[in-house]
């Protein structure tokens, strides 16, 4: 069979094939250059395994071998922290508490030595910290004139067995009591929040450092909470308020909280406001 390679049809087909081949070659180069996996959100502490796409690049990538030097468990980390900074409120573990109308007892230990617990009452000292107040889900300590709070961890909170003994305590020592019904009604009706209080973010070098109270409507539950115009909320329950996610996290779970501790910057000084939610 004779094929005339100079016929216009064959030339056209040949050119089209060359064009397709060039286009395919460019697309293959792009395929090699661009990543084969997208960005996936994995929440910290989520029990869901992190999404990994099945691809050749993932298969040929060397698997990550943990560095034995960095393979330290939480216990050794805590022991290191204890050795480096000495005992402080952040490396203490609140194990249990018993609250009475006029006092109570708490069982406390260092995170590095969780089995080495001590039982202390109001006015007694643990590692230099004097127990001054027992709350529904935490404690208040005093050291060198400064107030520190220690709460049950989130995991402990879930497993906690609560038994009430005696009547609820009245407000004293600056700890404010807030009705859960008020909180639930605010959580369900955000419009009421914005009517009664004005809050804007505070940024430093483009990063959120806290949330400033710009106005509080008088004669509303917010006005009785101890917050003042100009206060900058920098921490809530020991979590720094550095993003809208942090603020929304507190807002979303507020109806489940038993106590709320706010650290606010007032006249450039940190002030602690504690709420017991009943």
């Amino acid at each position: 069979m004779n094929i005339d390679f100079n016929s216009s049809l064959v030339r056209f087909i040949r050119n089209v094939l060359i064009i397709i081949l060039v286009a395919k070659a460019i697309s293959l180069a792009m395929l090699w250059y661009f990543q084969s996996e997208g960005v996936h959100y994995h929440a910290k502490g989520s029990k869901m395994p992190e999404y990994k796409r099945y691809s050749v690049q993932n298969i040929i990538k060397p698997t990550h071998k943990p560095d034995p030097k960095s393979a330290v468990g939480p216990t050794s980390e805590e022991a290191k922290e204890l050795a480096a900074y000495g005992p402080n409120i952040s490396n203490m573990l609140l194990k249990a508490l018993f609250k009475r109308k006029n006092g109570g007892l708490v069982i406390i230990a260092l995170k590095a030595k969780p089995n080495d617990s001590e039982v202390i009452g109001i006015g007694e000292v643990f590692q230099g910290y004097t127990l001054t107040k027992i709350l529904e889900n935490g404690t208040i300590f005093d050291k060198n004139g400064q107030t520190f709070s220690l709460y049950f961890s989130e995991e402990q909170q879930k497993d906690r067995y609560t038994s009430k003994a005696g009547a609820a305590q009245s407000d004293d020592e600056g700890i404010k009591q807030v009705a859960k019904s008020d909180i639930v009604s605010y959580a369900k009706d955000v419009k009421r929040i914005w009517k009664d209080i004005g809050i804007v973010e505070v940024k430093k070098n483009g990063k959120i450092t806290g949330f400033k109270v710009t106005r509080i409507k008088p004669n509303t539950p917010f006005a009785q909470l101890g917050l003042r115009q100009g206060d900058i909320i920098i921490k809530a329950n020991n979590k720094p308020m550095t993003s809208y996610k942090d603020a929304l996290g507190i807002y979303k779970g507020i109806d489940k909280l038993q106590a709320l501790e706010l650290i606010v910057l007032r006249n450039n000084q940190e002030t602690e406001i504690i709420y017991e939610i009943y």
């Binding site: 460019i26 792009m30 395929l31 419009k191």
Partner: protein, 176 residues
């Protein structure tokens, strides 16, 4: 004349072939990577290459680590001269229910070669209708919203953030 026509035919064929073979899924992942520093993550999605367009199905949108919306589908058509992104069935997260009606039925964003530095968009949802233009040269966003009855009656606080015009619609301008 015949040669010029043939040249254009080859050019069109080349761009069509390139568009067809382009790994759109990988390009989309590259775009996702560019959004990451802005705190925008589109996760749990299924990307389907339709040859000349890319469809993203069942995506969850996170902004600054906050789950913000579930997106039914995103259809991306990049044709060079005319590019379009259409988004269907956006359901905002419950957290935002208090601020904005949760369902946005359709969003359409277009960009054409005749105004390469301008994006225009339209959206329809329970909030009403909105049109938006983004001028990349002047770095501004302008939104005009015609709110629905639901938006006017239940989301007055959100509308207060916008400027009401004499025509009765609401305007919002932002410079970036």
């Amino acid at each position: 004349m015949k040669k010029i026509a043939l040249f254009f035919l080859y050019a069109v064929l080349f761009f069509a072939a390139l568009l067809f073979f382009t790994p759109k899924e990988n390009l989309y992942y590259f775009a996702e990577e560019q959004l990451k520093p802005l705190g925008v993550v589109i996760g749990y999605e299924e990307a389907v290459d339709h040859g000349f367009s890319l469809e993203i199905l069942h995506a969850k949108l996170y902004v600054q680590k906050i789950k913000s919306a579930n997106i039914g589908s995103i259809n991306i058509g990049a044709f060079g001269l005319y590019n379009t992104v259409s988004v269907d069935n956006v359901v905002l997260d419950k957290t935002f229910e208090q601020f904005f009606p949760p369902l946005i039925q359709h969003i359409e964003i277009d960009q054409s070669i005749f105004a390469p530095l301008q994006l225009s968009g339209e959206a329809v949802g329970d909030f009403g209708e909105a049109t938006a233009t983004v001028n990349l040269l002047e770095r501004n966003v302008s939104v005009v919203m015609r709110p629905s009855k639901l938006m006017i009656s239940r989301y007055k606080n959100t509308l207060r953030q916008l400027k009401k015009s004499k025509e009765g619609d609401y305007r919002y301008e932002y410079r970036f």
